[in-house]
Symmetry: C3
Subunit: 368 residues, 3 copies
């Protein structure tokens, strides 16, 4: 072009002053679960529940095919809210009342909408505040099998665009969302016992004892793979994938490096706990609360532990029970200034994640 | 074996003296688009057009399912020509008249053939010359739905195997290839408006103003993932994946390190521009010309910008229009000898890619 | 929880004293081949056989669709045995009599069982011994198309949990497993010749000469991607993915770094050899013996070579013949203490892998 063009640079995401209690975001894109997405995240997370690994096992149990594990459902749904809700966030403060609904299979298309429940300014930090939202994910809208697959609230610390702007402070009650975990019916004519060798023998409902803390035996080192994983989820936040932005002003960013998207340790902790806690679960019922306690970077190795908090019956389903747990994620960090070449004596354990999680677990009496 | 074996080392690819104007290469392998390939590249490129993300959206628009974005079609087709045409190339000089045809879906099998249009020796550099080729990609040959999906020309600087060899200089005109973008019919009975929230509200035909340059807001840092991505495309060139070859003689190779296959920044720039330019496009019509201006390496962060060059009607289709653009890719590089630990003040912008690109874009009047 | 929880840390895998000749392990999970898994490993390995790349080619040949290449079948089956057999192994000593059976397609669910054939203690090293096992992989158990897809033996050096424990020494003969390579019938009405350009013209049965060693021309550099690839295979061994464990006591681990799972170079060598040896094969018949000779690490570049050992007819199938080969993998290593910045003169070739491999190869007389 001969003339100097007019320069356009679009603002992305919303800022504190843009949120209004009661406001509804219908998020963009939507996302169909392909076998590529399914394989990448199910395997990344090291899930060991055969429902997500072995289609003939899942079919015998009454599912239509390979079942998306809860962590994948959460990632596909949650990520769709990032651009509207948290692209300009400082921190994701808390997950609240995350409840699973219909099962998600390969081929399902997930779309999400979010209602703003509350906006609160910070007294001490006038440039940010807290936004409280409620999100709901549906599959196959307008097609056969339309259903709610996940609903949750979260609280996010969001920056203002203009520090002098007035926020729309206020709080409204959450909507009642009819979302409860779908379970395949128990059917005595199905030969569950012949499949019992495909899951661990000591993770049935009868095996869990409240007051136990299970230190899961495996760890997993994260690499720069997290950049591609985050893109695969349509998470648009630049702190996960734009190294140039970090290099321009490292002091501005946590750790002075690309931070790993919180959804990654979320699902990895679920997966690391799976052989000890989840491989005889028919599904995850609810995450009542959860939060990230410290950032994760490429090179860190993630570990997990689970405390068994309680057990209860599930009304109308004598074949299963609910196990209430607290899932922890941690890594080990070295003192400031030490390199990997130093003596390995000064590692300290750093908690990175915590999730109150209730699972629906099969009873040995009915399945093995 | 008891005896010393006879050693065989096969030559791969062709050299300048092997090309003859009029010659036809029917490339090897072919490639079926699996959901794994689809997910990997669609997500890598950060495409935001719902036609490539959300199957129920694509079906309402009249596509059979998730639509392969133009960058993926280009990668799958182009890569098949590398071994025969450019495995022994010094540089890919220009993409010319790349036109899209039938839509490509998961499950389609793509095969490509290439005709040599011209061969020219270099006056100043007798060990190489320029080969001009025309390639055409078809899907599902001999099966229902056989169709042309892409045709293009390119000019490549290719080495001689024997510097003294005579090249078959000459030039013939390109074939007429019946390849024009398939568009789903506009159908007033379809409820496009109910899907309008799934794409950006400000990227309809009416929104583009010639004379505007849009600096796309997001960047993406490349990692060594490019090695696996390139293998996934069957690109056989060793400069992308054989570090030992580079280490043997670093001075011989651009930058002394593995260079990222040009197809990678090509699709990444398409993707980075998508939220501002492409998410209400029904397809890419033609890339009239394009070229790589500088190499890309692991660690570089890629950015993109688009200049709106012009707009025009598409005869017979009042529901859409053609937007003519120039897509730019760039990265930032530091002065020679500086390390990442240095003060971040001396970055300079380096253009890496340029593509003249016409898109068929929906009109708000008809779709939203 | 108010009280200090009881800490539970489960032991994973088995130790030398746990193995008893005649004992049967029915391995956990099973694994369905998704298009994600298929694409990741087929492409990673740089396979060039069109049966695994181009579905319409595979269908003309009489397969149901894209054919899982032998390396992928091996990886999916072998990995399922790791937790029970070799999670506590020091080394995988030998692959023996690995025979392929029914073809594996996307959608097939693979499950594996392993019989212990022998247990032997080490005279010199009382803390370990050798376990000899026979494994068999079936697909779609209890569903239409149930079939054996792979059977093999291997010998593994396994640690004791308690050095004072007595091992159950002994040896029993292997079971007869009815597993032989399924081949699509040769059908003169199929138009094989029209597809001949999709594979290399010089890799038919007639082209192989015993006494030849083919140095395959391409190399492939491994990156930290191996961590994700190994997780994708459900391989549970921590030496591949837990950097913190290595950093705690580097001297304890080979090379003081994460070691790449042996299945990775196994399939990569198959792939690197494919354009010269395997792209006109209808399948791999048997791997009579194989072993890993040296470890592979991120940053190493893998190369391969094939010696043609012999050729023979396949009874009843005049359209094909059996080519007996020995496949070698190697890398180049530098002298201790040298960095990549040093002069590149002191590389030495290190053999990493060896496999005696018989392929069923098409005859040009029948197919081209």
């Amino acid at each position: 072009m001969s003339r100097t063009p007019r320069i356009l640079r679009k603002k992305t995401g919303h800022f504190l002053e843009d949120f209004v209690p009661g406001q509804l975001f219908r998020h963009k894109l939507g996302k169909t679960v392909t076998e590529g997405l399914f394989a990448t995240f199910t395997e990344f997370a090291m899930t060991t529940n055969p429902l997500a690994k072995n289609a003939r096992y899942a079919r015998v149990y009454g599912f239509e095919g390979l079942l998306c594990p809860p962590g994948l459902v959460m990632l596909v749904a949650f990520s769709q809210t990032v651009e509207d809700v948290s692209e300009n966030a400082r921190a994701n403060l808390e997950y609240v009342d995350m409840r699973f609904g219909a099962p998600v299979y390969v081929g399902d298309s997930i779309e999400v909408e979010t209602k703003v429940l509350g906006v609160r300014t910070s007294a001490s930090r006038p440039n940010l505040g807290i936004v409280h939202v409620q999100s709901t994910a549906r599959k196959n809208i307008g097609e056969p099998g339309e259903a709610i697959v996940l609903t949750w609230q979260r609280k996010v610390q969001v920056y203002k665009d203009d520090d002098a702007a007035e926020a729309h402070a206020g709080e409204i009650p959450p909507d009642e969302i009819a979302c409860s975990l779908w379970l395949p019916p128990y059917d005595v004519s199905r030969d569950y016992e012949r499949l019992a060798h495909l899951s661990n023998a000591d993770t049935y409902f009868e095996d869990f004892e409240p007051g136990t803390r299970i230190e899961h035996s495996r760890g997993r080192t994260m690499t720069s793979e997290h950049i591609a994983l985050t893109a695969m989820l349509d998470n648009t936040s630049q702190v996960h994938c734009n190294q140039f932005m970090i290099d321009q002003d490292p002091a501005q960013y946590v750790g002075g490096q690309l931070i790993i998207f919180g959804g990654i340790p979320f699902v990895l902790c679920l997966g690391l706990s799976c052989p000890d806690v989840g491989d005889n679960a028919l599904g995850d019922l609810v995450y009542t609360t959860g939060r990230h306690a410290a950032p994760l970077f490429a090179g860190d190795t993630v570990f997990a532990a689970t405390e068994i908090l309680g057990k209860r019956d599930l009304p109308g389903r004598p074949d299963v029970g609910v196990v209430e747990t607290r899932l922890f994620g941690h890594k080990f960090a070295r003192a400031e200034g030490e390199s990997h070449a130093d003596a390995p004596k000064d590692w300290r354990k750093v908690q990175i994640f915590e999730l109150d999680r209730a699972l629906v677990v099969k009873r040995r009496s009915h399945y093995a």
